[in-house]
Amino acid sequence: MRKAVIILISLLCVGTMLNRNAFKEDISNKAVVQGVGIDINDDGTYSVTLEIINTENYSNADGTAKPVMNLHTLKGKTVSSAIKSAYMIDGKIPLLSQNRVIIIGKELTEKGIMPSLDFFIRDAENYPTVQIAAVEGKAEDFFKNASSETTVVSRNIEKILITSDEDTKVSSITLSELVNRFKSSGSSFYMPIISTFKEKDKQEVMSNGTAVFKDGKLVCDLNEEETSALNFLCNKARKGAVNFRFDDVPASISIIKSKVTRKVDFSSENPNFSVKIKLDADLAEMDCDTARNPSESDIKAMGKYAEEKIKYDIEALCNKLYSEKKVDAVGLSRLIYIYYPDKYREKEKNLSEIMTDSQYSVEVEICIRRIGQDYSS
C-alpha cells in the first residue's frame, strides 16, 4: 500500500511537471512590465505601450550602458490581445503583477476608459492597487518623452502618486478605488494628470492636476488648487502646504494633522452638506523683507487667512463640480445613501440635479502650533 502511494505521488509529480511545463513560467522567461500606457486608435483598436525591464542590461561594446527599460508599443483589438502580443517581440510572456501604473491617453479618456480597464479587473495577475493616471496627449508619447537610459518612468510616477499623502496638490487613485467609486458614487471618479517637463536636458515627471470622470468619460480637469480642495473634501489631505497672502506677502503653512468631518442633513427638500476641516499646522514661510517673529495676533490672523483660502477653494470646487459639471467626483452623494437610504432610493435617478440644488457649507479651523526658529526682530 505504502509503495503504491509513493509510486502514485511520484508519478503525479512527474506528470504535473510535464503537464504544467513549469519551466516556461520562470522569471527569466517573463517580460517584467513596470508600466502600461493605453491609447485608442481611430479605428477603435488599442495601442498599448509597455515599459519592460531590459534584462540585457549590460554595456555596449563602446562602454555605454544600454537603457534599463525597454518600451514596446503594441496594437490589438482589445487591451489584453495587445498586451499578450508582447510575446511576439522577444518570446517572453508579459508579467503584469509587477505593474506599477496604468497611464491613459487623452483620447481614450474622452471616449470612455471603463472598457479598457476590464482586462485589469478580470485578470488575477493584475494588482488591484495599481495606480491609474491620465496624460494630456498620447500615453505612448508620454512614455517616449519621459524615458531615459537610467530611469524607470513608471516607478517614478508611482512614487509621486503614492506620496500624494505628503502633498495636497497631488491626487491619486488605485484600480480598486476607481472601480469602487465608479460603482457607488454616481459613476463618477477622478484620476491624477501626469506630464513631463524638462530640467537640465533631462525629462522629469510631475503631477499637475486632476481629471474628473463621469460614466467613464472625461468631464473636466482640475488645477492644482482645485486638486488640493478635492483632497480636503475626500479626506485625503494628510500633509502638504497651504499657500495664502498675509500682509500682502506670500505665506505658507505646512499641515501636520488633518481631520475632515462630512455630514449631510436631508430633513428639508434638498440636502445640506457640511464639511468641517480641522488642521494642525506649522508656519512654514512668511516672505516679508525683514524676518520677524510673528505676534499672537499675527498667528491668529494667518490662521484666518489660510482658513479663508481653503474655504474659498472648496466652495469653488463644489460649485464647479456640482453646479457646472454635475459630477460627484468627491462622493458626497454616498452620505445620502448611508444616512438617508430611503431618500436615496427615491431620488437615485435624478441625483445629479439633487446634488446641484444642495447647500454646501464649509468650516475650516486651523491651529498653528509652531512658528519655526525663534529669532528676535
Binding site: A22, D26, I27, V68
Partner: protein, 500 residues
C-alpha cells in the same frame, strides 16, 4: 512472489552461527582446553596457560590485548600460584583460589563451557582447576579505548565538556556521577546473534513509566540482527514509525543531556561501542532545546529557541519559496529587488528549479566530502567548494547571485540544529521540486502532508508533537519560553501523556 523473495534473502543472509549447546565443564583441565581449542582455533590472540602448584593443575585462558596484564600478574597470578591450599580436592582448591583474589576484581563461577567462553571473549580471564567441574571468571578487562572527550556535534557553551565514549561501562559511570541515587537502574541486555553486543537500559525507577519500560525491553529482546555495530541498528526497533520522516527515538552524545532526559522519566539506551545514547520517548520540541538554554538566563533561552525555530524553517523552506516566487509568484518580489533578481536570473541558462536543485546537490557533495575526507585536506575542499561554487559559478553566469545567497543561508541555517539536518536536507529538496512545479500551492500541500506525517508519530503513546498538539499548556513553560528555575521547578513528565 514477494514472500518467496524475502525467504530466499533471509536464507542467504542468515548468520552462520552454531547453536549453543550446553557443554558442562569437565574435571580435567586438558579436556576443557581441547574443547576450547576446537571452538576457538584459529585465534592467535587466545592464550592458554597451564600451571601446577603443589601438584594441583591450574589452567588459564584469556584474550591477549583485552586483559590487564599487570593486574593479572600482580593481583591474580601471584596470590594463586603462591597460595597454600592444603588439599588436592579440585573443588575446594578452586574456591580457595577465588577467595585469595582481591575484592576489587569481579568473580563469577561458571558451570557451563559455552557461557564461560562467551564471557572470556568479553575480556575476562577463565580459570580451570584439575578436578573441579566448575571454572572461575575474573573480570580483568582492559580494552583499548578512547578517553572521554568533548562531544563533536553537541557542543555547549556552558555545559560540561564530557561526552559519551565507546565503552558503555564508562558511559554508565558518567551517568552515575550525575545521579547519585539508588533509583538509577541499569539493565544489561544482549543484541546481535553474532556480535552479542551489550545494551544497557538506564532509567529512574521512581518516575519511569512501567509500560514503556516493558515495551523497550521487549523490543530490544526481539531485535533480530546478526551484528550490531552501533545504536542506530536499534533505532528502527525502538521506534515504530516506518513511513515517517521523524523518529520517536532521540539520541545524545552528552551524559548531562541524558541525565536530564532520565529525570523527565525517559529511558536511556546505551549500546556498547557507540559514543552516543538513545532515549525514548522523544518528541519534536526537544530538537530545539539544548543544555545551554537551561544554564543561561530564561530570556536568552527564549531568543535562542526562537532563532533555532526560525533557522529550521529557513533551512527547509527558503529555497523552495525562492523557486516558487521566481517561477510563479513574481508579484511577491519587492519592488527594490525585482530588477536585480530579474537581471541575474535571466543570465542563468537553467530554470530556477533546476538551478536550485543543482546548487543543493553540490552543497551536499561538498558537505559529504568535507565530512568523510581526512581532516588535513578538508580545508582544501572547503576552499575549492567556496571558490568554484561561489565566485566562479556566479562570474561564469551559471548561477545567479541571489540563488547563491539563498542556498548559503539555507545551508548555514540547517546546521543550527545538527540533529535535524538529515530531515531538513531531504525536505528542502522535496520543497524545491514542489515549489518549482506548483508554487506556494504545492509547498503548502507538501507542508501539510509533512505535518500530518509528523503528528502520526506517537512513540510509546506519547504524541510526537506534544505539548503543542495535543495541547498541554502546563508544559508550555518550557517550550519556546523557558520559565525561571524557581518556577520551572519540577518539569512535567512527557510520559504522563501516555495514551495507550
Amino acid at each position: 512472489m514477494e514472500n518467496w523473495y524475502r525467504k530466499k534473502i533471509d536464507e542467504i543472509t542468515a548468520p552462520n552461527v552454531e547453536k549453543d549447546e550446553k557443554e558442562p565443564i569437565k574435571a580435567e583441565v586438558s579436556e576443557n582446553f581441547k574443547y576450547l581449542e576446537s571452538k576457538l582455533t584459529p585465534s592467535f590472540d587466545v592464550k592458554y596457560r597451564k600451571s601446577e602448584v603443589n601438584g594441583i593443575k591450574f589452567g588459564f585462558v584469556m584474550l591477549d590485548g583485552m586483559c590487564d596484564n599487570e593486574l593479572i600478574t600482580e593481583q591474580l597470578m601471584l596470590p594463586i600460584l603462591n597460595g597454600d591450599y592444603g588439599t588436592s580436592d579440585g573443588e575446594r582448591v578452586l574456591e580457595t583460589a577465588a577467595d585469595l583474589i582481591s575484592a576489587s576484581i569481579d568473580k563469577s563461577i561458571q558451570f557451563e563451557l559455552n557461557t564461560a567462553v562467551n564471557e572470556m571473549l568479553s575480556g575476562n580471564l577463565l580459570m580451570f582447576v584439575e578436578g573441579a567441574e566448575r571454572a572461575v571468571l575474573f573480570g580483568v578487562q582492559k580494552f583499548p579505548k578512547r578517553s572521554i572527550s568533548e562531544p563533536d556535534s553537541e557542543t555547549q557553551e556552558k555545559g560540561s565538556k564530557e561526552g559519551f565514549s565507546e565503552s558503555f561501562k564508562d558511559n554508565v559511570a558518567l551517568l552515575r556521577r550525575r545521579i547519585r541515587t539508588p533509583v538509577l537502574k541499569s539493565e544489561i541486555l544482549e543484541v546481535g546473534t553474532t556480535s552479542k553486543t551489550r545494551v544497557c537500559i538506564v532509567y529512574l525507577s521512581d518516575r519511569v513509566n512501567e509500560k514503556i519500560l516493558a515495551s523497550v525491553r521487549k523490543r530490544i529482546k526481539n531485535a533480530s540482527f546478526d551484528v550490531c555495530l552501533g545504536a542506530g541498528y536499534l533505532e528502527s526497533f525502538l521506534g515504530n514509525e516506518k513511513a515517517s520522516f521523524f523518529s520517536g527515538v532521540g539520541s545524545t552524545e552528552r551524559p548531562d543531556v541524558l541525565t536530564a532526559k532520565l529525570s523527565e522519566g525517559k529511558i536511556g539506551i546505551i549500546t556498547d561501542g557507540t559514543p552516543y545514547a538513545l532515549y525514548v520517548p522523544h518528541i519534536f520540541t526537544e530538537y530545539f532545546h539544548s543544555l545551554d538554554d537551561y544554564l543561561k538566563r530564561p530570556y536568552y533561552a527564549f531568543a535562542i529557541r526562537t532563532l533555532k525555530i526560525a533557522s529550521f524553517f529557513i533551512g527547509i523552506f527558503l529555497p523552495g519559496i525562492y523557486v516558487a516566487i521566481c517561477t510563479f509568484h513574481q508579484e511577491v518580489i519587492p519592488e527594490s529587488m525585482i530588477f536585480d533578481i530579474c537581471l541575474q536570473e535571466s543570465f542563468v541558462p537553467l530554470p530556477v528549479m533546476i538551478e536550485a536543485l543543482i546548487m543543493h546537490l553540490v552543497f551536499e557533495i561538498v558537505k559529504e566530502a568535507g565530512l568523510r575526507m581526512p581532516k588535513s585536506i578538508g580545508n582544501a575542499v572547503s576552499i575549492v567548494g567556496a571558490l568554484v561554487i561561489g565566485d566562479a559559478a556566479v562570474s561564469a553566469g551559471l548561477v545567479a547571485a541571489p540563488m547563491l545567497i539563498v542556498i548559503g543561508l539555507t545551508a548555514v541555517s540547517s546546521f543550527v540544529i545538527p540533529s535535524l539536518y538529515d530531515i531538513s536536507s531531504l525536505l528542502r529538496a522535496v520543497l524545491i521540486i514542489v515549489g518549482g512545479i506548483s508554487g506556494f500551492y504545492g509547498i503548502m500541500i507538501a507542508f501539510a502532508a509533512v505535518v500530518i506525517n509528523m503528528t502520526a508519530v506517537s512513540p510509546y503513546g506519547v504524541p510526537f508533537t506534544s505539548p503543542l498538539s495535543p495541547t498541554k499548556t502546563g508544559a508550555w513553560r518550557d517550550l519556546l519560553f523557558r520559565s525561571d528555575w524557581r518556577s520551572l521547578g519540577k518539569k512535567i513528565l512527557q510520559t504522563d501523556r501516555l495514551d495507550k
